[in-house]
Amino acid sequence: MKQERFVALHRQEWDSLQAWLGSAELRSREAMRSTQALAFPALYRRLCHHLALARARGYSREVTDRLQNLVQQGHRVLYRPPAPRWHRVAMFLVADFPRMVRAEWRCIALAAVLLYVPMLFCLVLMQLKPELAHSVFGSAQLAEFEKMYDPANASIGRSSGSDLGMFGHYVMNNISIAFRTFASGLLLGVGAVYVMTTNGVIIGTVAGHLTGMGFGHPFWRFVVGHSSFELTALVISGGAGLRLGLTLLAPGRQRRGPAMVMAGWVGAQLALGAFAMLLMAAFIEAFWSSIASLPDLVKFGSGALLWLLVLGWLWRGGAERVRHSDGA
């Protein structure tokens, strides 16, 4: 078939499809409700068929380029991402995220060791040799911490600010740290290792120093509430970073490229989950941990409950039930 005849036969079809695609990119909701939307997948395949024919028959660029552009536009509309649904978000938080954490437990356990071992080490060391606190922090910083957790201080745990002010502060600081921890894992894991150990040293030293000088009670009272979400989220984002770095070093039985894409896919989801956890932690830290009037029992009890909740969620969330009967 000669080119002119081919164009004459199909021009109308292409024109109407082009008009609909144009409206689908501008006002997608309206276009998707029109009756043409139902016919679109079939029309798109026909269009692809026409392009393949045009190329095989060596038609000129006037035809092939036009069809090529139309096909690319159609491809974008046909394979557009599904509309976001809250149900998906809930499913991710309840089931997919804990599953992914369990699947990646090796890296996350490694990150936990990198955080908790220096932390406990410093905590114990501060009890034995309290003067070493001065080799980690300057005197001004130590004085600041001491002022924050002074039992005589009205608002324990913060230097200044209202609840909402501190919420913004915690979100900005903590979540940025978690995201950077994940991303810096790409530097062969060095970044993640560095962030985890330095955080372990800092937290352990502060906790040990304050406990040693007798401010332990207000300090532990303050941190017990949000520590579960905050520390676990930091460990998870560190694990995601380590996964990136370790995959770069040792991709296993895959080529490095696809292995890295996979690690990025997993890591981004872990970072998203850590983001949700840190949002929760910031909320607790700003609006619950700061309440000074509650009795110890409520504070430590709720803290323990939250630790159980977080660990239980990560351990059992989205787990498949043991099947009693096969079939169906």
Binding site: Q3, S60, E62, L164, V171
Partner: protein, 226 residues
């Protein structure tokens, strides 16, 4: 090969042509986004300044969202385009040409931290220069790429002349060359047209303007005009 067009075969068995964008347009788009973000942040601070400590908190939240989630939300909801990318005519797509979704967009934007590293996008610049499709590290790991939105102009209409059959049976690629010449006539000066047509003197038997017209007449016959 010195070609930044990435071909991708779709499930329908045809090839998509993704024209990858280099470092310069992407830097321009990023700069526009940066200015927009700074302006929004700055304008937001003015009313928030009256709210005292709570205002500082809300300001921090605004900064946080602008810093980490502005590109992700824009890319997912506005066809892979932040405002800067839209202004320059760029778009983020998955490696298979489909619109970018949440997880890849999140991955590529979080990994900016590494691409930005020494100074302003040092690692990213080196990566875009090395990668054949101009991807920075974040793009490579997220499996995405940044492409130009504008399509290449398609071929022009062949000028209408009385069709004439070529004296020889031409092979398919030879036919394509003659039709291509006819389609491009409008973009060429008459001198250049004649210069090109003179090369086919053995076929047309004519030179100069008559030769060029003869080729267009052949092209008319080849695409099936009467």
């Amino acid at each position: 090969m010195l070609d930044t067009v990435r071909q991708f075969e779709t499930p329908e068995g045809i090839f998509l042509r993704l024209r990858s964008a280099g470092a310069l347009p992407r830097a321009q788009a990023w700069s526009i986004d940066f200015v927009i973000r700074v302006l929004v942040c700055w304008m937001g601070m003015i009313p928030l300044a009256f709210l005292g400590q709570a205002g500082v908190g809300i300001g921090m939240l605004v900064m946080f969202v602008l810093m980490w989630f502005y590109p992700v939300v824009c890319e997912v909801f506005f066809h892979g385009q932040t405002l800067g990318k839209r202004a320059i005519g760029l778009r983020v797509v998955n490696a298979d040409g489909t619109p970018v979704t949440w997880v890849p967009s999140m991955a590529r934007n979080l990994l900016r931290v590494v691409d930005m590293l020494p100074g302003v996008y040092g690692v990213g610049l080196v990566s875009t220069l090395i990668d054949p499709y101009g991807r920075r590290l974040g793009d490579i790991i997220a499996g995405t790429m940044v492409i130009h939105t504008s399509e290449l102009p398609s071929g022009n209409h062949v000028p209408v002349l009385a069709a004439e059959r070529p004296p020889l049976d031409l092979a398919a690629d030879e036919q394509a060359v003659i039709v291509d010449f006819a389609e491009r006539c409008a973009q060429l000066t008459p001198q250049r047209q004649q210069e090109l047509a003179n090369l086919l003197d053995p076929l047309t038997g004519q030179t100069g303007e008559a030769g060029a017209r003869q080729l267009v007449a052949y092209a008319n016959w080849l695409i099936g005009r009467p």
